[in-house]
Symmetry: C2
Subunit: 752 residues, 2 copies
Amino acid sequence: MINSPQAGTEPYRDNTLGIEARVDDLLGRLTLREKIGQLNQRPLGWQLWQRRGPEVTLTETLDAELDRFGGLGAIYGLLRADAWSGRDWTTGADPALSAEITAMVQEQVVASSRLGIPALIVEEAPHGHQALGGTLLPTNLGSAATWRPDLLAEAFAHVGRELRARGAHIALASGLDLLRDPRWGRSEECFGEDPLLASRFTAAQVRGLRSEPGIGVVLKHFAGQGAAVGGRNGAGAPIGPRELDELHLPAVRAGIDAGAVGVMAAYNEIDGIPCVANEWLLTGLLRDQWGFGGIVMADLGAIDQLGRTTSSAVETAAVALRAGVDLSLCDEAYLSLEEAVGAGLIDEALIDRACMRVLRVKIELGLLDPPAPLPVFPTPRSADDLVAATPVLLINDDRLLPLGAPGRIAVIGPNADDRDCLLGDYVPPLPDGAGTTVLAGLRDRIGAGRIRHEAGSRLTEPLPGGLDCAVAAAEDSDLVIMVLGGSSVRHYADAFADNGAAELTGAVAATGGEGVDVAEVALPAAQQQLVEAVAATGTPIISVMIAGRPLGLQGVVDHSRALLWAGYPGPDGGRLVAELIMGDREPVGRLPVSLPRTSASLPVAYNERLGASRRYADSESSALFRFGSGLGYTTWSLGVPRNTGGPDLAGAVVSADLTNHSGREGRQIVQLYGRSRTPGLLPRRAVLLGFTAVALAAGATAEVDLRIDPYAIAALGLDAPSTGSAPAPTVVLWPSLDGPGEPPESAITMQG
Amino acid sequence: MINSPQAGTEPYRDNTLGIEARVDDLLGRLTLREKIGQLNQRPLGWQLWQRRGPEVTLTETLDAELDRFGGLGAIYGLLRADAWSGRDWTTGADPALSAEITAMVQEQVVASSRLGIPALIVEEAPHGHQALGGTLLPTNLGSAATWRPDLLAEAFAHVGRELRARGAHIALASGLDLLRDPRWGRSEECFGEDPLLASRFTAAQVRGLRSEPGIGVVLKHFAGQGAAVGGRNGAGAPIGPRELDELHLPAVRAGIDAGAVGVMAAYNEIDGIPCVANEWLLTGLLRDQWGFGGIVMADLGAIDQLGRTTSSAVETAAVALRAGVDLSLCDEAYLSLEEAVGAGLIDEALIDRACMRVLRVKIELGLLDPPAPLPVFPTPRSADDLVAATPVLLINDDRLLPLGAPGRIAVIGPNADDRDCLLGDYVPPLPDGAGTTVLAGLRDRIGAGRIRHEAGSRLTEPLPGGLDCAVAAAEDSDLVIMVLGGSSVRHYADAFADNGAAELTGAVAATGGEGVDVAEVALPAAQQQLVEAVAATGTPIISVMIAGRPLGLQGVVDHSRALLWAGYPGPDGGRLVAELIMGDREPVGRLPVSLPRTSASLPVAYNERLGASRRYADSESSALFRFGSGLGYTTWSLGVPRNTGGPDLAGAVVSADLTNHSGREGRQIVQLYGRSRTPGLLPRRAVLLGFTAVALAAGATAEVDLRIDPYAIAALGLDAPSTGSAPAPTVVLWPSLDGPGEPPESAITMQG
């Protein structure tokens, strides 16, 4: 049965009316079953169509769903291409076909809907759209190392244009999780360990994507997923409300303030309560306190997982809906919502509440406006400035870098000639020939004739004969560049859990990414043995780490004269790493996370509270490389800070003279830290309060002004429970070029 | 100025009156300064006197303090003897002198007090009184392995008699901290990782000590100290209220219900708020909700540590007093309380509130009654039954144990001939010749002629030539008994922090105890190398672990045919270990804590929530040996459980037939576990709900009845936030002889 919507005749289609009036009108026209349809997002999108060559046909997967509900809230992953979906360049939605596919599916959805309501097309875009031909950016941990949210916003504006050109509406962007335990496989998806970095970069992602009309952003994950115990994916976070508020919520606020249309309720529980069942979180905080009007989408299968706590799917559905989950994602339980209403477990008003939010987003994104042509798929845009700003130079003994006369170079290591290791998780297959490995980048830049290559080992296992070959190459060279680390590559033969995470029961080549948590974060033994064998040759070593999570690098540090941490830089990473090594560009990255020694000394975040700084009998408890640190090719000094702003913290401006003492132009990240003194609250050792990127000509001096970012305030704990007539809190402020350290004598004290 | 109290004339001295009337009367007679004196406990007790031979004289240390206040609340550690106090058998308070010393000091206190109020004499007694000649019990972790609180209560009754005979009033007993992170140096002080074990053993400690009239117990530590991040002593616990309530508070309730007169506010913060500043904890919960009328004593120096959050000592004092700290311990800040009242920071009513609690405890313990003679110091009482029940047999391949014909035995390892390693932290020096090492115990039991001994290595460092000697001994023997592990020994030359914890800046021989946290819990490399060298000889190995914390033992397991974990069993541990090995007694201990693989896979507690069970790519996340497990020399079966009690959880009685299939009498610990299904709350994998010890003759069968302990209920989370009209929670129950595992099919389901 196909119904033709009569465009423009009803108030809900009248885009001269306010959104709320349109939502109210539309909601009033829907039956209970139609409303429940708007709360469902069940079949995996890529299963809705098939492609033979350039010819696309729809499968029958969607028919039953549309018949059941008369319409549908959203469709997930229609264009997704990766090992889990099984879609590749032969079978998947390339840019040329994508808009056609979304149009075909959307047409079917609209036709099934009595009132002609389209579905939200929801796509993964954690660091670029996970679809064939999508621009791939560094994973978030790398982007955060730039300390340049402006560069990320520009890059994501292009991603938004790509998404819209293919007919998508919602980008799923991951930025809310903090990297508090590097054992977590999803470390790469975090903007580091700091709430301000996460806030600024999340906001940049949203701003960038939202600059494309018709694209909305759903932020994941809400909330506290980075606090999962043991770094185990989806495990619980037994944290308290202050820890949640100070560390894990600022980025949510920032993303919402920047215009996110939704948040994704996370897998984890907080202090026992799964996020999808957490009425305090999803309703009390998000709605009642923050006034957020967008949608809460459950993570994939998270509502069904709630079945571990209930006795039936009906009960599960009732718990999640009551808590505040508006839109499910591949769950069975939300099929039972009508039954839950019928059984009196929930009131229809709760269905209305959720449906209204879904409809509001659809209207806001223009789904019920007269159809407009999609923009054309944009030509590729260079992300070189972003990518080149991600690597962090951690060691540079005797200014070995940049390389002058390179001589004969041995490029050694499992990641040297691996393209996929550059990409991270949640990526589509690259086109043939795309991307540049570090080896290829060095050959292009230095000349293939100077370079000899040996893998030497696999990531976690020895390569038969590898050590001997590597040693021979090192002995025959003037310099070794070791390319080590990890990989989140997914192979099409891998096993996957129901939600697409790696399933460890199968063979997994990856050392990171969703589902690949590790106990020990120190460099795997096979690579460590390679480093030691090569070091024994005496040939100087420059180490390059391609890795999604912080690794324990003491064994690399001991044998390297230079060390460059490059995260997962994306497909062009190898070219830009070569340019950095040769000095065409200066390394300007700063660590967005503390690098640990081993797993045994976790946690090491710079902003743990003061009490956590006690050392162990057998090890330091501090980081091996601290948050905010990183070297360049230039030399700088920062003068004594002064407050040139107002007398209160919110209006303070910490100013200091910054000088580039070098003979070349350079860039710096000037960081502002604070430590509070709030009666009765143990302060964090330091809190990043602001930062700014500065470029200065050779020999130049400029005054740098730093303001306190509103999203950084929470971590100071100035709102701690008042203890009677105790004086107001104070805060000491100090700028730094290389991470927090202890407050110096020159720190500025202010009333909090 | 000395005032003679006129005993019996004032109401506060009339013990026919109720306590509250006496407290009110006494409080009304005190000046502000005198009241504040009752809130102070400042000089370290052992510094108040000197001994030359049998002659004791008072120092001038107390004079200024008594002059300042006209009396004093309490005196800490008057009789303490250990490396920190520097008191030994030459300079310390032996049993014969102790009563005289307390009487001399008390006389001075009373004389200085206008109303003749004595001080509380407060002594450390975590596993026996930390004074010369005090009975030493296993550390708490060992006692918990007995699963026999009744044995501990009997042993502590004797400790209470010793304390009273010396003139002490308050025993500081540590049992509240849960062992959630084995990196913590104080792991040995915990009754394991489970709230019910901690509750039952804490209550047993209190019951035992309180059976001696005039002895009160202050429980440490309140609260959540075992949740400290990274296992770092005194670090914060960023946990939420549910985690606190379910795991960390039941033992506090149990100890209070058993008659504790006070709790000690811990060093750590909970979710940012230091315990000594936590008004919600110390007043809202403890007083207003629980109705507790005893004292809150701060941990040693904890109030002054609060100075990290305030701008002055006056402010510090005001914050702590307002929060609810009644009695300081070696803090400067409480000297400023009068100034704080004068400055209007606190009202005198808060001074009264605290003083009233101190006075109440003094009156309750008889300090203001007519003096009565002290009991005589009791003759030693054997704790053999307790000590022998602590070791847990973890491996016994081919029933190697008990040893039949022992043959030639090599006893190897750093703990084989070390007496002090048996004792743990918080112990006085032993008398000359006291105690039995494992080596000595084996020689006594088996015959010295059969035994050859080599240390082989030190605890954390190789012993020069040690490996060769150990290998030679093993090669020349039919069997090796390796005695490995750790030690919390304190040497008189060690460095100590202000609170007596080990100071890691100095040389520390210990691998455990307060202040000696470690990053890596796996057996130290030196010992592991020793194990491997000895194993290479092919001589069968029985391993005995003397260790205060859970160690990662994979490397021992790989090479041992039997493995006995013995905690810190106390001075007679060596004798009883030998008896167990020879089969004079059966090992009956069960693990009170999960033994991890390495630090990298922490946490491993059996009662983490379901979500934490996900494995790592490079390791299991589970324990190597699970909570509740342990072998004996007998074979048992447990029949299908049935509920023979009431229909509701509180009245349920889980009954099952237990059979001893062996040819000898045997003992078992029957454990009852539950898992809840509470809508919207992720359950813990299992919760220990009850347990009982059973002895059965060879071949006998008996019905065992298990009831649900009220202190175990909290961890089920049945009080989770109601989600509308969702059905009531259910709980599945199952008995077990060897730890929780997964609920079996025979588990009983009940309404929660």
